[in-house]
Symmetry: C3
């Protein structure tokens, strides 16, 4: 446990989940130069998808927790790809899709559930650019899906 970020995760009492297997013909992570692309991770914890239509049958607070599980899955995938999260220099970009009712307006609050985790874990290096938008439907009925780009050291 000499890793700085592993230590930070322990401090935050965060245990990363087993990285979910892709539900389709792709891979969870690709490195291109100094960028690590993580495939869209749906809201799921301990193998169970967190479903819901935010603003209809799910509250903003519940959806924030769902977004947090997306971010945990992103970190789990990054760890599997890099072996050591200390190789991450910066969280560059998150794109968050919220399975939301047509009149929903609080997407930013929902995706904060993912963004805040990045800052908790990486500090200033966790501060990222972001897009948060509504989707009329998401894979497996998930409440939230988030993908990510990290800058890594060579």
């Amino acid at each position: 446990m000499a890793s700085r970020i592993a230590g930070r995760l322990a401090e935050l009492k965060i245990e990363l989940p087993t990285p979910p297997a892709p539900v389709a013909s792709y891979v969870p992570a690709v490195i291109a130069g100094n960028l690590l692309y993580i495939a869209g991770q749906v809201s799921a914890a301990t193998g169970k998808v967190i479903t819901g239509k935010v603003g209809a049958d799910m509250s903003v607070e519940q959806a924030q927790m769902a977004a947090r599980t997306c971010a945990l899955n992103i970190l789990a995938q990054a760890q599997a790809a890099l072996s050591d999260l200390d190789r991450i220099r910066r969280c560059v970009k998150l794109t968050g899709f919220v399975n939301a009712a047509a009149d929903f307006v609080d997407h930013p609050k929902v995706i904060n559930g993912a963004s805040d985790l990045m800052v908790d874990v990486f500090g200033d290096a966790g501060k990222h650019a972001r897009a948060a938008v509504g989707s009329s439907s998401l894979p497996l009925g998930a409440a939230v899906e988030v993908d990510a780009i990290f800058e890594i050291s060579a």
Copy 2:
């Protein structure tokens, strides 16, 4: 005002807005290598969000103007991040989300409001790859959201 792009903006009589503060836990711009990622900017002018459901209570023409405000906010964020827009080598990619009715089909025309501004300001270097899609809902009820990637000089 020795800056080439600042001069071009003046020529076009474009005054960049104050870059909007993120409504959530993220930053408006991140540089990774030669790429500048700008967070999703919603349609808003002088602090007021331009709301609407395109194809229902908003016309394509109104939505184009809304998309243009997204692009102005993107340029304002880029300027704040880079100090000088002359550091931009190329507009690489825009992703435009249109808060649209389910039977709407003119997303490309709407996002042209953002794309055309890039070409007006940067000329050939403003020509970018793009995705334009429909969203069933957007943050704060915004009519349009656009994020951007630029290539910059070191």
Copy 3:
């Protein structure tokens, strides 16, 4: 026909379509450093847009074929941009938007129609990170839209 990928396409009996012209103010492909960004390609074959609302008036199987046409258009654009697809080192990321009913859950299966083609053509180098999400509407009523990032050799 010394090109390896051109040979592979012939082997698969895949003839790339004429790359569709953008329906708006942008370009189909931009190279930034070692990354090639391909603009969102809608489902269209021989100039005709494949329209539909997946899960309502279109089946998953039909939508997979629609997604495959997006991928063919992506390859056609990449070929036009690079002259030789052998310059592609890796398919890095696909983002797939499915024009879907609000209760649709099989986006991953749909976008496999695009992902599988990348793997068929490029082998391991075709394995990419991916996001698959639902859109309430897409340009021209298209059933599917996919954009792409490739890593290329200099």
